[in-house]
Amino acid sequence: MELVIAAAIGVLAGSGVWLILRPRTYQLVIGLALLSYAVNLFIFSMGRLRVNAPPVLEGSGAVDVTAYTDPLPQALVLTAIVISFATTALFLVVIIVARGLTGTDHVDGKEG
């Protein structure tokens, strides 16, 4: 299980890094999205991987903390997902406005 997730994080991060080194703005958008998947999974995995132990309490009695997975990374990632949508939107708008202004979709605003 850990091996698969680790490999997944690696592939996502590698693809993301490759794309953010490319010259076209759209490649950067996709690259940043892939990187954010990788980072979200990475942060999430720092709470360790557990199956069938969602941090939703059963009943209102005393809590056995070993029965549930760590809720903190999940809370961090949840807001990160929403924020990464916002940054993707902002970035997308910046690149289409920049394209309108400079006439090119090269990251430096000029071909070359």
Partner: protein, 969 residues
């Protein structure tokens, strides 16, 4: 007993007054003057009332905790010495306010003037009563900033802007040094409290860090008090309105430097280092300032250099390290403030009434303004040190002290000679000021006909001159008590007994005075003809201008070196920067992990889940495919990217994170739609033109590929080994245990978001709101590139098809497109709203919550746009996303503030279960309201961003049509 809370009032009152002054009409001269005058008068009254509390070494303290754990508190501390300064600040402040009422022209925006003047008054009050080192440094910087703004008050004037910038650069740099010095001092003593520091003088002077601390504090004090070699900013600051020069650049702000030296005199003074550094600076400044003042042609320039010289005198006195000299220094601060402020005001009157300050043009003004002339003469007499005026007394004390032996060195030996020569120079420029301006032939060709100023413009000078005379004639009776309070406050048990009488008999100091007076008069007689016509500035030194050196230095550092450094170290291209960033990150990661091989868990393929493996097989294929296709096949890349997102969404379900899965899925949908909307504005890319054909490009791609592989591998290894290490006890347990008992919810992730860490969530939704508004603002003036402005070719083809068919109108195909799905989508709206409501309501106990519900609701709106088109939706539905955002933010803040009403800190939540008929117990926590705010804001932000992009197609079409029609007619 005077209440210590009034101390805070003394500091806050001028700031409040300044704010009020800024809100008045820019030209309300009388209202502004009344307001500022009352504030200054109030401050003066508070100060005078405080006197009984500070006599005989009394100290009033007022402390407001700020960050006690690191020794920071807002401590205000008033002792006799600070009291003297408060008296100067409020007293002269009041006079300057009255004077400025008549000085400022009706065309000047006086609101800004008085607002800044009052704010400066507050900063200066804060500086002198600060009882904490860091607080002192903060007020110090504030005086620099307000001085900058006031010098640049007439900002249409080039010299005002230059002078302001120079003053800020120099005093600001000094302030920075002072801050570091204060931190060092605090570290040496172990406390930032002024009382502790003042008590720890011996420990400081023997500490290893004494010299650096001294150098840094001196850098602050000497720049502020315009001491050599930092003196040149003060003459350039004379571009300020004259009331500002009188107030800031003679009476108060420039005194801050010597104030600081006196304040820390018990801690820092008395060592050879102190004497050498401070004495050298002081004596050089004293000589140079007095000498340069002789050769100025601008009245204010003369006074500025004279101020530099007198500040040098005070610094020299402080350098001696003897208690008697320190007492004399305090006395001279008071005397100098009174006579110099009145002289500046007189110079302002001359400028105002005669239209020029150039001494080559002014002459014989006595007959035109006899009262002002008499006042200026008395004040100049005080400046020159004529007996029976206050300047004489402190000058005699200075002469007497210069004769004493303090530290056996050359510097100490020359002190009496320096003092006498500078005394002679002082006589020369004082006599010159009076003789040139008021005597001699009638003035010719002045811009204005000179006459006496309005009465109230002269009153402040009259008062100050009367004080000069009273102190000069009866010092012990008039000023003795106040001076005593100040001296005891600084020197404590060391306080010397000194005699404030006018006549000490025939002694060496008196002889020095007589020599200085005689030599000065003789020098003036010899020089007067030359001075009548010479250029500005002393001979030989004229060319060597501090200002020019400063400017050249500034250009070299901030322009040439910066450009060179940028050319050498940086690039404006993004790709190399990204490459360096990735490489450095990789290197740092590798370095941290280097040699950790022994403690790492063993690698094993045990427990490999085949289904998860297949899922991520597909996921990896999607990620790699997206990376491969992103250049030429954007749509394919987008779909593949979503595939990878879906794989991580399923992993979240699998690995016990239902909340994440829900949110990820919903966000995935809106992200995809968003990027689809953006695709239209990107250029077509032809696969035939491959840029990667040459060798350099191939090398670059190979290098990037290696970087990407290394990064992926590194992250994977890091993640893998971390996951195999057992989880140390985590703060997560705390949340799990208290989620229900204290947060009232069983969904721990949601309780963390809206309750435990509600403040963080508030920050996050704020970011979301800002981003949405930024997107909206960026697109308001959007101009697409030429080739994207036309309709997409698919749409053009459809329109052409419609045009050819006889039974179809143009646009029919577009309308029919996706007819069946769009009906479904329309009917989905209430269902989606229901789902959103469901997700929201169960959020506290079950997976869901404000974020997920908000995105779901936004998708509901979005589907309507997709189904019916922008026009169709907006004819039927007004969404007003900005209001959703505003409502959400306000609700979240109001929930947080609401807990104040019950006496709890910000965002404390409250919960209980409410019985609702037929439904049963429903959790009603105040956190639910907060979550509602989150929900509303998320809906607004997501919809705003998507609609802003969607609208561009409409706008472009409308504009195209408008220009078409314009072309036809």
């Amino acid at each position: 007993m005077w209440h210590s809370g009034l101390l805070a009032m003394m500091v806050v009152l001028p700031f409040v007054g300044g704010l009020l002054a800024a809100l008045l009409s820019p030209n309300a001269r009388n209202a502004e003057a009344w307001l500022a005058g009352s504030v200054a008068l109030g401050g003066l009254a508070l100060t005078i009332m405080a006197f009984p509390a500070v006599t005989g070494g009394g100290v009033v303290k007022h402390t407001i905790e700020w960050a006690p754990a690191i020794g920071l508190s807002i401590t205000l501390r008033l002792d006799g010495f600070a009291w003297l300064f408060c008296l100067l600040i409020t007293g002269i402040g009041l006079l300057v306010v009255i004077y400025a009422r008549y000085y400022m022209s009706p065309k000047d925006p006086v609101a800004r003037f008085y607002a800044l003047l009052l704010a400066f008054m507050g900063a200066m009050q804060g500086l002198v009563v600060a009882g904490n080192l860091i607080l002192l440094a903060i007020f110090w910087e504030m005086t620099s900033i307000f001085s900058f703004l006031l010098i640049g008050y007439w900002h249409h004037n080039q010299s005002a802007r230059d002078g302001a910038r120079m003053a800020l650069t120099i005093t600001g740099t000094g302030g920075l040094c002072l801050l570091v010095g204060m931190v060092l001092l605090g570290q040496i003593v172990g406390s930032y409290d002024l009382d502790d520091v003042l008590a720890a003088g011996d420990a400081v002077r023997t500490h290893d860090l004494y010299l650096p601390t001294l150098l840094l504090i001196l850098a602050g004090a000497l720049t502020k008090s315009a001491q050599f070699p930092f003196h040149f900013w003060l003459p350039n600051a004379m571009a300020a309105p004259t009331p500002v020069s009188a107030y800031l650049h003679s009476a108060t702000m420039v005194k801050a430097g010597v104030f600081l030296l006196t304040r820390f005199w018990p801690v820092l003074a008395g060592t050879p280092e102190w004497f050498t550094l401070v004495g050298l600076a002081g004596m050089t400044t004293l000589l140079l300032g007095s000498y340069f003042a002789i050769f100025q042609q601008d009245l204010k320039g003369l006074l500025a250099y004279s101020t530099i010289g007198h500040l040098g005198l005070i610094t020299t006195l402080l350098s001696f390290g003897s208690p008697l000299a320190a007492a004399a220094a305090i006395f001279h601060m008071l005397n100098h403030a009174t006579f110099k402020a009145s002289l500046f005001m007189a110079a302002g009157i001359i400028d105002h009434e005669a239209g020029t300050r150039d001494m080559r043009r002014l002459s014989g003004l006595f007959s035109a303004m006899p009262f002002t002339a008499t006042l200026a003469m008395v004040a100049s007499g005080a400046m020159a040190g004529v007996p029976l005026l206050n300047g004489f007394l402190s000058k005699e004390m200075f002469f007497a002290e210069s004769l004493e032996v303090h530290q056996r060195s050359l510097l100490d030996g020359v002190a009496p000679y320096v003092a006498t020569i500078a005394g002679a120079f002082t006589v020369v420029y004082s006599v010159r000021f009076i003789h040139t301006v008021f005597f001699g032939p009638k003035p010719v060709d002045l811009p204005r006909e000179p006459h006496e100023p309005p009465h109230w413009m002269r009153r402040p000078i009259e008062l100050l001159v009367i004080i000069c005379v009273i102190v000069g004639v009866a010092p012990g009776w008039s000023v003795g008590r106040f001076l005593d309070a100040g001296v005891i406050a600084v020197l404590g048990e060391q306080a010397p007994s000194y005699s404030l009488s006018v006549w000490h008999g025939f002694n060496l100091p008196l002889l020095m005075s007589i020599v200085a007076l005689a030599v000065g008069l003789g020098m003036y007689a010899a020089l007067s003809r030359y001075l009548q016509n010479c250029e500005e500035g002393p001979p030989y030194f004229r060319r060597l201008k501090g200002q020019r050196i400063f400017e050249r230095l500034l250009v070299t550092v901030s322009w040439q070196w910066a450009r060179a450094a940028e050319a050498l170290l940086s690039t404006r291209r993004l790709q190399p920067q990204m490459r360096i960033l990735a490489a450095i990150t990789l290197f740092a990661g590798a370095w941290a992990m280097w040699g950790a091989g022994d403690v790492l868990p063993r690698f094993s393929v045990h427990g490999l889940d085949p289904v998860l493996g297949i899922l991520w097989g597909i996921g990896a294929f999607c990620a790699l495919g997206a990376a491969y296709k992103a250049k030429f096949h954007r749509l394919a890349a987008l779909i593949l990217m979503s595939g990878a997102g879906l794989a991580s969404c399923i992993s979240f379900v699998w690995l016990s994170a239902p909340d994440l899965a829900v949110t990820q899925l919903l966000v995935e949908i809106v992200t995809t739609v968003l990027i689809l909307l953006g695709l239209r504005w990107l250029p077509k890319r032809d696969e035939e033109i491959l840029s990667g054909s040459n060798l350099a490009a191939r090398l670059r791609r190979n290098r990037d590929f290696a970087l990407a592989v290394a990064a992926g591998l590194g992250v994977a290894v890091l993640a893998y080994f971390t996951m195999l290490t057992p989880l140390p006890p985590s703060v997560g347990d705390f949340y799990l245990e208290r989620s229900y008992s204290e947060g009232g919810g069983t969904n721990v992730v949601n309780v963390i978001l809206v309750d435990f860490r509600g403040f963080d969530t508030m920050g996050e939704i704020l970011v979301l709101a800002i981003v949405a508004l930024t997107v909206f603002a960026l697109l308001r003036r959007f101009r697409p590139a030429e080739d994207s402005a036309d309709l997409p070719y698919q749409q053009r083809e459809q329109d052409e098809f419609d045009d050819v068919q006889r039974d179809r109108e143009v646009g029919d195909t577009l309308k029919d497109y996706l007819m069946v799905p769009s009906i479904f989508m329309r009917w989905m709206f209430p269902v989606i709203v229901l789902i959103a409501a469901y997700l929201f309501l169960r959020g506290h106990d079950q997976p869901g919550g404000g974020f997920a519900a908000g995105v779901a609701m936004a998708i509901g709106f979005l589907l309507q746009y997709l189904a019916g088109g922008t026009r169709w939706v907006e004819e039927r539905l007004r969404i007003l996303p900005v209001r959703w955002i505003g409502f959400g933010l306000m609700l979240a803040v109001a929930t947080g503030v609401g807990s104040f009403l019950f006496g709890y800190p910000f965002l404390t939540s409250y919960f209980q279960y409410t019985e609702i008929p037929f439904i049963g117990p429903v959790p009603t926590a105040s956190a639910l309201l907060f979550d509602l705010g989150v929900f509303s804001l998320v809906v607004g932000a997501v919809v705003l961003m998507l609609i802003a992009i969607a609208h561009q197609s409409l706008r472009i079409r409308t504009r195209a049509r408008a220009s078409d029609e314009g072309g036809r007619t």
